[in-house]
Symmetry: C2
Subunit: 198 residues, 2 copies
């Protein structure tokens, strides 16, 4: 790309390494960054560096945080006997946004995927089992409803059941506002199986 | 967004200021950046800062470059008597990628848009007129085929014609591989008007 100066090509190249950013988008972003006020470029750049340097796993639930323990694990208002297991911090945020869940979380940072060589040792499963040695009433498995998420849910349920702790899985069914016509068969069957008394 | 630590929220906020990056994408990018190797984050961050600091307009054609004069204006191999006027550096790159154009460029950094308050003084038009005082044979107007691009082309042609320099406009027509059925009427008419002898 020698029709751009090396500084621009460099920036485009670095930006295009980001997920979901193709060559065209990287180009557009690069030119936007060059046209931004210098303070804003510095803010963006330093927020990257500082997030990378200061963010690590919460010692308790393994979510990403800048303290030793995340605000949720540190809160006395939360029910520490109820643990919701999620695949990543974004999933945790999805439930936190609602603001109705009162328990704590455990973030696996992935799901088992034998085809991709991701086994139980590659996710934060050991850390969950250590937590279960404490005083826990229920483990709610909220991994994704994908092949990997389901396999992970099965494995966790197998590991937790012998301890006598209650293990639950969030429900499958028709999304609220969803049109039955467009919903796949497996979901429709699960919705039927999971029907509740009115 | 207090379900993320402030460092993460900060990064998400800065990223979502970029064009075409919504809240969800910013979130995804932020978590990706946190998971990247530290050297890569530093490379990305410093390439932004250095591009912002070192990139400025070429003294001759106004494209973005890190030298005083861009490589194209500095090249003895190019025909400096033929100037292609484009709206921005990406348009210049679009023609440079083909590698067939032998003249030089002039980058306007915009197009006149009276509705948005962008007048002739807000684009690099004065700089073009100064260049025309030198030895120039032809000005090829390659602004976009949008309302603003067309208005800019009209204005430039009006300003250049009295100098006796040849003024041309890149052709409108059916894109190669285009299906007539799906092409708008104005383009079809322009293609007919611009038909060439076989």
């Amino acid at each position: 790309m020698d029709y751009y100066s090396s500084q621009i090509s460099n920036l485009i190249e670095e930006l295009s390494r980001l997920p979901g950013i193709g060559a065209k988008t990287a180009q557009r972003l690069a030119f936007h960054i060059i046209s931004m006020p210098e303070e804003q470029v510095e803010r963006l750049s330093s927020s990257m560096i500082s997030a990378k340097k200061n963010i690590h796993y919460c010692k308790c639930c393994c979510t990403l945080t800048d303290g030793e323990i995340c605000p949720i694990c540190a809160s006395a208002k939360r029910n520490h006997k109820m643990i919701m297991v999620v695949e990543n911090t974004r999933d945790l945020a999805a439930y936190e946004k609602i603001g109705k869940y009162e328990g704590v979380y455990h973030v696996l940072h992935g799901a088992i995927a034998p085809m991709l060589g991701i086994g139980p040792a590659d996710i934060k499963l050991k850390e969950l089992l250590v937590r279960l040695e404490g005083d826990v009433d229920e483990v709610i498995i909220a991994t994704n409803s994908s092949l990997e998420g389901e396999a992970t849910a099965m494995l966790i349920s197998k590991l937790v059941k012998p301890t006598g702790i209650r293990v639950t899985r969030i429900a499958n069914g028709v999304p609220v506002g969803g049109d039955l016509e467009y919903i796949d068969e497996v979901t429709l069957l699960r919705a039927l199986d999971g029907r509740i008394e009115l």
